[in-house]
Amino acid sequence: MGVIGRAHGVRGHVRVLSYTAEPTDLDEYNPLQDDRGRSFSLQWVGDGVAQITCHEAGADRVVSDRSGAEALVNTRLYVERDRLPPPDEDEFYLADLVGLQAISLDGSQLGQVTAVHDYGAGASLEIGVLLVPFTRAAVPEVDVAAGRLVVNPPAEIVVNASAGQAGGAP
């Protein structure tokens, strides 16, 4: 979900790099875990700067000095998948789509979804060498629970070479 960056000031504040869709939403997922199983809560105190509270053996300890903050540098923050709110209809978490098995309409295996791209013009799925737009026409069925999706790879438009000409304004 994010990573703790360098210490900020002498009051135990740290810079936090948030990977959430809306960066300031990271504190809504408190408590967060690191890869060693430790538990943290963060509270934003400025733009990209947070105060960290460590939850250790039933006691909460607010990191209030710079050396404590420096000990947390480069800590990666995670949250369990089941704590994410359920997505809307026809909406899917990118993390859920990656790894799904893609099968074609006739039932043949196409491979695994290796990445989901979204550059502002709709999402697209990378399935091996295939890039498929994430539309109802190209991906008519998505079954996250069963770990598969049905793909109808779009055909390529072919036009007569004489139609239209390269260059120039319309």
């Binding site: 539309t135 139609a163 304004a169």
Partner: protein
């Protein structure tokens, strides 16, 4: 400097023919194009273009608020996959 308004938006001519063919076919098709410099016109709304980024044809679903931008803006030439985190994708 902005482009003179009397010229109108620049579009490579072959795109118009391909877009027209795609619209008439009504099938699930991607229009592969190399013209990253072309402006997105209102008649392209709803179509899916595969815009070449030097390596692959990235699918670009044209929507209303993309009109006036260039195709190349939606097909980056450098790879950055980012982190999935809590990000969601809506099926278009």
């Amino acid at each position: 400097m902005t482009r003179s308004s009397w010229k109108g938006p620049f579009v490579d001519g072959y795109l118009l023919a391909k877009a027209e063919a795609a619209r008439q076919s009504g099938r699930n098709e991607v229009i592969k194009i190399w013209s990253r410099r072309s402006t997105i016109l209102p008649q392209f709304i709803g179509l899916v273009f595969g815009v070449y980024n030097g390596k692959k044809f990235l699918p670009v679903q044209v929507s209303e608020n993309m009109v006036g931008h260039k195709f190349g803006e939606f097909s980056p030439t450098r790879t950055f996959t980012g982190h999935s985190s809590d990000k969601k994708a809506k099926r278009g």
